[in-house]
C-alpha cells in the first residue's frame, strides 16, 4: 500500500515539476514587460530592486531563473511580488485557504448529491423520473457559468438574505469566534451554491452513464437473475463495481470545480486564488501568476492522489497489482 501511494505521489511530484517548467517556458516567450522598471512598484527602492534582480536572477538566462525560483520555493517564499513588495507566499497562502473553503464543501456537496441521484436515475432508466432528470441536467449543462455567477449576485442583491460578495463583513472579527463563523457561513452559501450548480450536471451525467454501462454487464444480470432486490443491486453491486470509473471521475471533477470556482470567486469578490491571479496578470506580477497557477495545480494533484487512495480502498484488483 505504501509503495503504491509513494509511486503515485512521486508521479504527482514529477508532474508538478513539469508544470512549473512549462510555466517558466511560457514566461520566456512573453515580451519583456515583466521586468521593465516602469511596471515595478515605485515603493521599491533601487537597492532592493538590484538585490532582487540578483536574488531571482532576473537578468540571467532561463535555467538560472528557474533554479533561483526553486530555491526560493524551497524556502517557502515562492518568488517575489513586485506589485505588493512582499514574498509571493504571503499573498498565496491566505488565498489558498479561502479557495479551499469554497472548493472542498462544494466538492463534497456535489458528490453527495450526484451519487445517489445518478444511481437512482440509472436504476429507473427510461421512466419519467429519469427523463425529467435528463432534461434537467441538459438545461443545467447549457447554462454558462458566468450567468450562474451573475444570477447568484442578483439573488443576493435582490433578496438581501445573503451578503453580496466578499468573505466577511466588516466588523465580524470583533464579535467573537462563533459570530464570526456564522458570518463566514452566510457568506459562503451563495458562492458554494453557485459552484455546485455549475459542476453538478456534469458529474451527475457521468455517474448515471457509468452505472448504466455497468447494469448491462454479465455479472449484474446474473445477480438480477439470482433475485437480489433492486436497491441492493444498485447500491451494493453496481456502485462498488463502478468505483473505478467514478474515482477517475473524481479527479476530473476536482479540476472542473477549481476552474468553476475561479470565475465565481472573481464575480462574487471572494478573496481566493482566482481574483489574485487576475490582479497579478493585470499588474504583470510574474511570480504571483506562476505561484497561483502552481497552487491550483497542487490542489488538483492532491485531489487525484486522494482518488488513488480511494481506488485502492475500493477496487481489489488494484490492490493485487500494487
Amino acid at each position: 500500500m505504501i509503495r503504491y501511494l509513494a509511486r503515485r505521489a512521486a508521479h504527482g511530484l514529477l508532474m508538478l515539476f513539469g508544470v512549473s517548467i512549462l510555466l517558466f517556458l511560457l514566461f520566456q516567450a512573453a515580451p519583456g514587460d515583466f521586468l521593465s522598471d516602469a511596471r515595478v512598484n515605485s515603493q521599491i527602492s533601487a537597492e532592493t530592486l538590484a538585490q532582487l534582480r540578483v536574488q531571482y536572477g532576473l537578468d540571467q538566462p532561463l535555467p538560472v531563473r528557474y533554479w533561483q525560483w526553486l530555491k526560493s520555493s524551497a524556502k517557502g517564499e515562492f518568488g517575489y511580488s513586485f506589485a505588493y513588495n512582499t514574498p509571493a507566499s504571503t499573498l498565496l497562502w491566505p488565498r489558498a485557504r479561502n479557495t479551499l473553503l469554497l472548493s472542498v464543501p462544494a466538492l463534497l456537496i456535489s458528490w453527495l448529491i450526484a451519487v445517489p441521484l445518478g444511481v437512482f436515475a440509472a436504476g429507473w432508466k427510461g421512466r419519467w423520473a429519469d427523463r425529467l432528470f435528463s432534461s434537467g441536467t441538459s438545461a443545467l449543462l447549457a447554462l454558462p457559468d458566468v450567468l450562474i455567477a451573475l444570477l447568484a449576485l442578483l439573488i443576493a442583491l435582490k433578496t438581501g438574505i445573503f451578503p453580496v460578495g466578499g468573505m466577511t463583513s466588516i466588523n465580524a472579527q470583533d464579535q467573537g469566534t462563533w459570530a464570526w463563523l456564522r458570518d463566514l457561513g452566510w457568506h459562503m452559501v451563495l458562492p458554494v451554491g453557485a459552484i455546485v450548480i455549475g459542476s453538478l450536471a456534469i458529474i451527475l451525467r457521468h455517474v448515471r452513464a457509468s452505472i448504466i454501462e455497468l447494469m448491462d454487464s454479465s455479472y449484474m444480470r446474473a445477480a438480477e437473475g439470482h433475485g437480489l432486490p433492486r436497491f441492493k443491486l444498485l447500491f451494493g453491486y453496481a456502485l462498488p463495481a463502478a468505483a473505478n470509473p467514478l474515482i477517475s471521475l473524481f479527479g476530473l471533477s476536482v479540476a472542473l470545480l477549481l476552474s468553476v470556482s475561479l470565475l465565481i470567486e472573481v464575480v462574487m469578490s471572494w478573496p481566493g486564488i482566482g481574483p489574485l491571479l487576475l490582479e497579478a496578470i493585470m499588474a504583470r506580477d510574474l511570480f504571483v501568476v506562476i505561484g497561483a497557477v502552481m497552487l491550483s495545480t497542487v490542489f488538483l494533484v492532491a485531489g487525484n492522489l486522494l482518488g488513488d487512495v480511494l481506488l485502492y480502498a475500493f477496487d481489489p484488483r488494484i490492490r493485487r497489482q500494487a
Binding site: Y219, A222, G227, R317, R320
Partner: protein, 549 residues
C-alpha cells in the same frame, strides 16, 4: 441414464412451456423471431437438454424462463407455467423470490458472472440472504457447505477471495455454487462450458453430473455440443431456427433418420462420409521447414528491476509437405500461437530459420515474393475484419494492396471467392460487421485465398464456433484444400475432427514439441501432455458416440 417416460399418469410438471414465441427487435427495425411456438416440459428431477446451433434460439428460451430477456426482446405469445402457475401472473416480488431460490441460471461466461470488486463469500451470502433469513453463522455454514459440494477443499479461503484470484474453472464452480445455494428445484445451464478449455470442461461436466445425482435437481441444459448433452440429459430437444424439430432420449434420436438431427448429434460422422483421407502425396522438397526456432518474451515493470522472462518457443523443428495438413495441439500457454505468428511473419524469432520452398521468410531476411504465400486465419472473427468494410472490400483487400489488374476484375474475383466459401454473392455490399461469427470466418478464408497462398495457418480458427458449424467449416476447408492444393497448419487445443483431416499431429507443451504422431496413434500415446488432451476430449464426448480421436 434414467428415462423420464413412464406409462403412469404424470404429476404436474415442474416447468411447462406452451407455444412460446420470443421476438427480438434488432437494430434497423428488423424483427427476429428467436423462438417460435415452442413446447417444453420438465418434470421434477428430470434433466432436459436443448441442443442446437448458435442462433437457434436456445439462449432466448432460457432467458425467457428466468425473465432476464434483454430490453429489446419480448415474449410475444405463449405461456410458461412454473408448478402449474403461469409466470405472467406472478407479481414482481414473487418473481424475484422465484429467481435464485426455485429456478437458477448459470450463464455462459463464468469469468463475467461474478462481480469483480466484491468478495466471493459476500456474493454467495447475498444470494442466500435475498431469499431467506439466516444468522451470520448459518450463512457461513451454508456457504462453506456449498463450496465443498462443488469441489473446493478450502472454502474459507475461497470465501475471502476475489474473482480475479481464481481460474476460469474455479469461477464457474463458484457460479454454480451461487446458483444452487438456495437449493432450487430447477437449474438452467446456458452453455456453461463454452468459455472453458477442454480439460476444465470435463471437470465441470463431472460436477454437474454429481450434483444432479446428489441433489435430485431438475435441469434445463442448453448447448451445441452433443457429447455433453448425452452425458447429462435424460431427454433431448433439438432446436433449429426457433422451433423444436425433434425430441426424445438419446437412443430414440440416434435411431432417427432425419439428416439434420444426425448432423447435430454426430458432426464427425457426417464429415467422415465426405472426406477423403487419401490426400495426393506430393513428393519432393517439403513446403515448409522450420529449424531450431526459439523466441522469448521479456516483461518489465516500469521503475522496477524485476524482469519476467517467458520462453515461448524453444528449439522447434517442423516440416510440412506440400498439400498436407499438420495439426499442432497443446494447452493454452504451450506456445502454439507464438509459433503461428512467427511462421506468418508477425513476430521475429530470436533464433532459428524458417524456409518456405527453400526461401527464408524470417522477418529480417524476408523475400517479398513470399510474403503473401503464408496466410493466417485468426481465432477471433470479430476483430479479423474491419467492421466498416463491405464484404467485397474485405475479400478484395489483398488484391487491392497488390494492385492486381483493374478495380472491376478485383471485385469480380472477390465475388467468385465469396461463392467458393459458401457465401451468397448478393451480400457483397453488406458491411462486414453485420455478418455472424461463422460467416466472418468464411470471409477471412475468402480473403486469405485472394492472396493466393501456399500455406494457411489456422490459429484456433474454429474454436469459437459451435460444433455443427465447426463441422461445416472443416468440410469447406477440405474442399478448398483439394481444389487449390493448399497446405494447412491447424492449431488448436481440442481434438475435434483432427482424425478426419490431419495427416500428422504435433503436440506442444511449454514451448517445445513433445511428440509427433499420427491421429490414429494419438489415443495410445504415453506422453503426459498428450494424455491430458486426449482424456479431456474423451470426457467431453460420451461413450457410445464416435469420439473425435
Amino acid at each position: 441414464m434414467t428415462s423420464g417416460k413412464l406409462s403412469l399418469p404424470k404429476p404436474e410438471p415442474l416447468l411447462r412451456v406452451s407455444a412460446l414465441s420470443v421476438d427480438y427487435d434488432a437494430v434497423g427495425g428488423n424483427m427476429v423471431h428467436a423462438v417460435r411456438q415452442l413446447d417444453l416440459e420438465i418434470a421434477g428431477g428430470e434433466s432436459v437438454g436443448v441442443l442446437g446451433e448458435s442462433g437457434s434460439g436456445k439462449s432466448s428460451l432460457a432467458l425467457a424462463i428466468i425473465r432476464l430477456l434483454p430490453k429489446n426482446a419480448c415474449v410475444v405469445s405463449g405461456r410458461i407455467d412454473y408448478r402449474g402457475r403461469s409466470l405472467a401472473e406472478f407479481s414482481p416480488a414473487e418473481l424475484r423470490a422465484m429467481c435464485g431460490a426455485e429456478v437458477s441460471l448459470i450463464s455462459q461466461e463464468p469469468a463475467l458472472a461474478l462481480n469483480p470488486v466484491l468478495s466471493l463469500g459476500r456474493q454467495l451470502a447475498d444470494v442466500l440472504l435475498a431469499h431467506r433469513k439466516f444468522t451470520r453463522q448459518e450463512v457461513k455454514a451454508r456457504c462453506n457447505e456449498m463450496l465443498c459440494q462443488v469441489g473446493f477443499d478450502d472454502p474459507g479461503r475461497v470465501m475471502r477471495a476475489y474473482p480475479h484470484e481464481l481460474s476460469g474453472g474455479q469461477r464457474q464452480r463458484v457460479a454454480i455454487a451461487q446458483a444452487l445455494i438456495c437449493r432450487p428445484k430447477l437449474l438452467i445451464a446456458d452453455e456453461p462450458f463454452s468459455a472453458l478449455d477442454a480439460a476444465t470442461q470435463a471437470e465441470i461436466l463431472e460436477l454437474l453430473q454429481r450434483l444432479k445425482r446428489d441433489l435430485g435437481l431438475a435441469m434445463l441444459f442448453i448447448t451445441h455440443n452433443a457429447g455433453t448433452v448425452a452425458a447429462l440429459a435424460d431427454n433431448i430437444v433439438i432446436m433449429r431456427e426457433g422451433e423444436a424439430i425433434a425430441r426424445g432420449t438419446m437412443e430414440t434420436l440416434q435411431a432417427s433418420g432425419d439428416e439434420y438431427v444426425q448432423g447435430i448429434l454426430f458432426p464427425e460422422k457426417s464429415l467422415a462420409n465426405a472426406t477423403h483421407k487419401e490426400q495426393p502425396l506430393v513428393s519432393g522438397a517439403p513446403l515448409l521447414q522450420v529449424q531450431g526456432l526459439s523466441k522469448k518474451f521479456v516483461q518489465k515493470r516500469m521503475l522496477s528491476r524485476k524482469q519476467f522472462v517467458v520462453q515461448s518457443l524453444e528449439g522447434i523443428d517442423l516440416e510440412l509437405a506440400a498439400g498436407s495438413t499438420v495439426a499442432v495441439l497443446g494447452r493454452s500457454g504451450s506456445g502454439k500461437s507464438t509459433l503461428a505468428r512467427c511462421l506468418a511473419g508477425f513476430e521475429a524469432p530470436d533464433l532459428g530459420e524458417i524456409l518456405l520452398d527453400g526461401n527464408p521468410v524470417t522477418e529480417k531476411k524476408r523475400d517479398p515474393r513470399w510474403q503473401t504465400k503464408v496466410q493466417m486465419i485468426f481465432q477471433d472473427a470479430a476483430t479479423s475484419l474491419n467492421p466498416r468494410f463491405t464484404a467485397r472490400q474485405v475479400v478484395a483487400e489483398p488484391l487491392e494492396i497488390a494492385r492486381w489488374k483493374s478495380e472491376a476484375e478485383r471485385m469480380a474475383r472477390a465475388m467468385k471467392l465469396m461463392e467458393e466459401v459458401g457465401l451468397d454473392p448478393e451480400w457483397a455490399a453488406r458491411l462486414a460487421g453485420e455478418f455472424s461469427g461463422g460467416q466472418r470466418q468464411r470471409l477471412s478464408l475468402a480473403r486469405a485465398l485472394a492472396a493466393d497462398p501456399k500455406l494457411l495457418i489456422m490459429d484456433e480458427a474454429l474454436s469459437g464456433l459451435d460444433m455443427p458449424l465447426q463441422a461445416q467449416m472443416v468440410r469447406l476447408l477440405m474442399e478448398l484444400q483439394a481444389r487449390h492444393g493448399l497446405t494447412y497448419l491447424y492449431i488448436s487445443h481440442d481434438l475435434n475432427f483432427i482424425s478426419l483431416f490431419a495427416r500428422e499431429v504435433v503436440v506442444m507443451n511449454a514451448g517445445r514439441i513433445v511428440e509427433r504422431t499420427t491421429p490414429e496413434k494419438l489415443a495410445e500415446s504415453m506422453h503426459p501432455a498428450t494424455r491430458e488432451l486426449v482424456e479431456a476430449s474423451e470426457r467431453l464426448h460420451a461413450p457410445g458416440m464416435e469420439a473425435a480421436v
